[in-house]
C-alpha cells in the first residue's frame, strides 16, 4: 500500500466513487453479518418464529393420525407453515433491514464504512448480502429445529417439499430485505425508515389484499377502463358462463411478493392443498394461464422485488450527502 509513491495514480477508473468492488462488498457483508447476528432483536424474532413452527407441528401431530391416513402430512405442514411464513418472514426482514443504513447514518458509523475504500454501492450491496445471510440463517435454523420436532412427532415427512418451502422462504425473505435496505438508504432518520417499513407492510397486507375486492366493484360498475371478461367453465360436466376480471388486474394482484411466494411454492413443492386454495384456475383463461399467472413467473416477480428496490437505491444513494 504505502509503496505507492502517489504521483499519478489518478486516471485509474473514471467515477471510482460509484463503482462496485466485490471484495469490499464481501468485507461489508461479513462485518454486517457479525454485527446483526448478535442482535437481541434478531434472536427474539427467530425464537418467536421457531415457537410458531413448533406450535403448528404440535397441533398437526395432535390431529396427525387422520391426516397421516390420507398421506398428506407434509402437505398440510407446508400449507400451514407457509401461511405463517408468508406473514412472519416479511416482518423479520423489515425489522432486520429497518436500520441497516438509516441507523448507521444516525449514529454516524456509516462514516467508518465510507472512510475506508468502500463505495456507497458496496455499502448497499454488502448490507443486502449481510442481512440476507442473517435472515437465511434464522430461517434455516428455525426450519431445521422444527424438522426434528416434526420427524419425532409425525414419524417422518417429505424432505423435498420441506426443503422447497425453505428455499422459497429464503428467496421471499431476500426480496423483503432488499425493500427494507433500499428504503432505509432513502431516509435520513430511523424514524422515517420505520414509518416506511410500516408503510410497506400495510401496503402489501392491507391495500393489496383489498385490491381484488376493489377491482371487482369497479369492474361491475364498468368504471372507466375497468370491465369484466366472460368465460365458459365446465363444472361436473355442465357448462356455464361466468365473469372474471381483466388480465391485467390479475397481473397487478400477483405483483404482491406474498402472492408470488404462495404461487412459487406450488411449483417447488408437490402439495395439492396449495393448488386447491387457488382462487383462479386455467379454465378462466380458456384452458391455459397467461404467462404472468404461471407458477414460474412468480420467481420473476420475487426477482423483480429483489432487483428494483436495490437499483433505485444504488442510483439514489450515490447522489446524496451523508
Amino acid at each position: 500500500m504505502s509503496a505507492e509513491t502517489g504521483s499519478a495514480t489518478a486516471g485509474s477508473g473514471g467515477a471510482a466513487s460509484s463503482s462496485v468492488n466485490p471484495e469490499s462488498v464481501r468485507a461489508i457483508a461479513k462485518k454486517d453479518f457479525q454485527d446483526s447476528v448478535r442482535s437481541w432483536l434478531f434472536w427474539g424474532l427467530s425464537a418467536f418464529f421457531f415457537a410458531l413452527l413448533v406450535i403448528v407441528t404440535g397441533v398437526l401431530s395432535y390431529f396427525g393420525e387422520d391426516i397421516a391416513a390420507q398421506g398428506a402430512t407434509t402437505g398440510m405442514l407446508v400449507l400451514f407453515v407457509s401461511q405463517i411464513t408468508k406473514l412472519v418472514v416479511p416482518l423479520i426482514a423489515l425489522v432486520l433491514g429497518w436500520k441497516s443504513i438509516a441507523g448507521e447514518r444516525e449514529s454516524g458509523s456509516i462514516k467508518i464504512l465510507l472512510s475506508l475504500p468502500n463505495s456507497r454501492k458496496d455499502v448497499l450491496l454488502g448490507k443486502l448480502l449481510g442481512r440476507s445471510a442473517v435472515l437465511s440463517l434464522s430461517l434455516t435454523v428455525g426450519f431445521g429445529l422444527a424438522a426434528i420436532v416434526v420427524a419425532a412427532l409425525l414419524g417422518g415427512f417429505d424432505v423435498v417439499d420441506y426443503a422447497g418451502l425453505l428455499v422459497m422462504s429464503i428467496v421471499y425473505g431476500v426480496a423483503y430485505t432488499s425493500i427494507a435496505v433500499a428504503l432505509s438508504s432513502l431516509t435520513r432518520s430511523t424514524t422515517m425508515a420505520g414509518a416506511a417499513m410500516a408503510g410497506i407492510f400495510v401496503m402489501f397486507y392491507g391495500v393489496w389484499n383489498g385490491l381484488e375486492g376493489a377491482f371487482r366493484l369497479l369492474a361491475q360498475r364498468e368504471f372507466l377502463f375497468f370491465d369484466t371478461v366472460t368465460y365458459t367453465a365446465t363444472v361436473q360436466g355442465q357448462e356455464f358462463e361466468a365473469e372474471r376480471l381483466q388480465d391485467w388486474v390479475y397481473f397487478v394482484l400477483n405483483l404482491d411478493p406474498g402472492q408470488a411466494y404462495t404461487n412459487g411454492l406450488t411449483l417447488l413443492t408437490d402439495v395439492d392443498a396449495l393448488e386447491n386454495q387457488a382462487t383462479i384456475n386455467a379454465q378462466m383463461f380458456g384452458g391455459e394461464f397467461p404467462i404472468f399467472l404461471q407458477d414460474w413467473f412468480s420467481f420473476l416477480i420475487l426477482l423483480f422485488w429483489i432487483a428494483v428496490p436495490m437499483v433505485v437505491a444504488l442510483y439514489q444513494f450515490d447522489r446524496v450527502d451523508i
Binding site: 485509474s12 473514471g14 468485507a27
Partner: protein, 308 residues
C-alpha cells in the same frame, strides 16, 4: 504536490452557507492544524474532502486526485478518524480492525495497532462497553491501518483525557516522521500548537488566517497587550500613540473612565509618557502576553466585532 488542495469551495445547505469560497492547501509531509470554533465548517470541509458531501461550487483535490471522481483511490491511501461517530456496539476492537484491514487490503496486525493506541487489553471486548476515550483510541487505530499517506483526524482529542491527548499527539508525530501528511482539525488551539507545522483558522466558512504557529503569534499582537486606564482621551493623543514605532494598533474601549488598548512590541513606557506629555492622566495600566488562545480568539470572535 500538495496533499490537499481546496479551491474556491462553497457549500450551502438550503439557505445556510456553510462554506464560502474557501481555498487553502495542505502541503505534502506537513502537519496541518485546521482550527475553528464549532460550527465554523470544519466537518463540512472534511466531509467534502472524503466525498461524504458534494460541493455546491469549487473543487477539492486530494493526493493529486479529484475528491469526487477518485474518492475510492484517495481513501485507499488515507486514514480517517471521523468525528462524532459511534463504533459498532456488538463488535470487538479486533473485529473493527479486521474489517478495516480487509477493506484496505492491508497486512497489519490488530494487536500491534491496538498496542500503539493503548487499547490492546480490550481487544476482545465489545465496543458497546467502551468509554468515549476508548472508542476514540479504537478509531485512531483504524485510521492507522495500511500506513496511509494522508491522515485526516477530525477532532481526535474528543473524549480523551490530557494523557490520552498527549499520546495521540505522539502518534501524530510518529506518523509524520514516517512520511505521512496529517490534517488535524480541532476547536482547541492548545492541541494544535504542539504538533502542527502550520495552522489554518476557519470562521463562518471562511479561512481567516493560514500561517505557522509562530507566524500567527507574531501577526496578531506583536507580543504584548497594554491596557491603560485614563481620565480622558482625545484624537490627538491617540494618533500620537499610534505613530509610535513599537505600537501595532491602539483602540479605545469606551467607558468611564475610558481604557486604551495598545498592542506594543517593545517599550511600554513610551506609550505612557506620550499620553502624559499630552496632559492625559494615567490612572492604571496592565500588560498581558498574547497566548495562542488569544490569537485564536481574536480571529474567531473579535474579528466579528470589528466587522459590525
Amino acid at each position: 504536490m500538495p496533499a490537499i488542495t481546496v479551491d474556491n469551495l462553497t457549500k450551502s445547505f438550503g439557505q445556510t452557507l456553510a462554506l464560502d469560497d474557501l481555498s487553502f492547501q495542505v502541503e505534502e509531509g506537513e502537519v496541518f492544524g485546521f482550527l475553528g470554533p464549532n460550527g465554523a465548517g470544519k466537518s463540512t470541509t472534511i466531509n467534502i474532502v472524503l466525498d461524504f458531501a458534494r460541493p455546491t461550487a469549487g473543487e477539492v483535490t486530494v493526493l493529486g486526485m479529484d475528491a469526487q471522481q477518485h474518492s475510492r483511490d484517495i481513501r485507499r491511501r488515507t486514514g480517517v478518524l471521523p468525528e462524532g461517530v459511534e463504533t459498532y456496539d456488538r463488535l470487538t476492537a479486533r473485529q473493527h480492525l479486521e474489517f478495516a484491514i480487509e477493506s484496505k487490503n492491508a497486512t497489519d496486525e490488530p494487536e500491534a495497532l491496538l498496542e500503539r493506541v493503548g487499547l490492546v487489553d480490550a481487544i476482545d471486548k465489545k465496543a458497546g462497553g467502551y468509554s468515549k476515550g476508548m472508542s476514540q483510541r479504537l478509531m485512531l487505530a483504524m485510521a492507522l491501518v495500511g500506513e496511509p499517506d494522508l491522515l485526516i483526524l477530525d477532532e481526535p482529542s474528543t473524549g480523551l483525557d490530557p494523557n490520552g491527548a498527549r499520546e495521540m499527539r505522539d502518534i501524530v508525530r510518529e506518523e509524520n516522521e514516517r512520511g505521512a501528511t496529517v490534517f488535524f482539525s480541532s476547536h482547541i488551539m492548545e492541541q494544535v500548537e504542539a504538533v502542527c507545522d502550520r495552522v489554518g483558522i476557519l470562521r463562518d466558512g471562511e479561512m481567516v488566517a493560514v500561517d505557522s504557529v509562530e507566524g500567527l503569534r507574531d501577526s496578531v499582537e506583536g507580543g504584548t497587550t497594554l491596557r491603560v486606564t485614563v481620565d480622558r482621551i482625545d484624537d490627538d493623543a491617540l494618533q500620537a500613540v499610534r505613530s509610535l514605532p513599537d505600537v501595532g494598533s491602539a483602540t479605545v474601549e469606551d467607558g468611564t473612565p475610558p481604557t486604551l488598548i495598545v498592542d506594543v512590541d517593545g517599550s511600554k513606557t513610551a506609550v505612557l509618557s506620550t499620553l502624559e506629555d499630552r496632559g492625559i492622566e494615567v490612572q492604571d495600566f496592565s500588560t498581558s502576553e498574547a497566548s495562542l488562545d488569544d490569537v485564536f480568539r481574536s480571529y474567531t470572535t473579535e474579528t466579528e466585532v470589528h466587522a459590525r
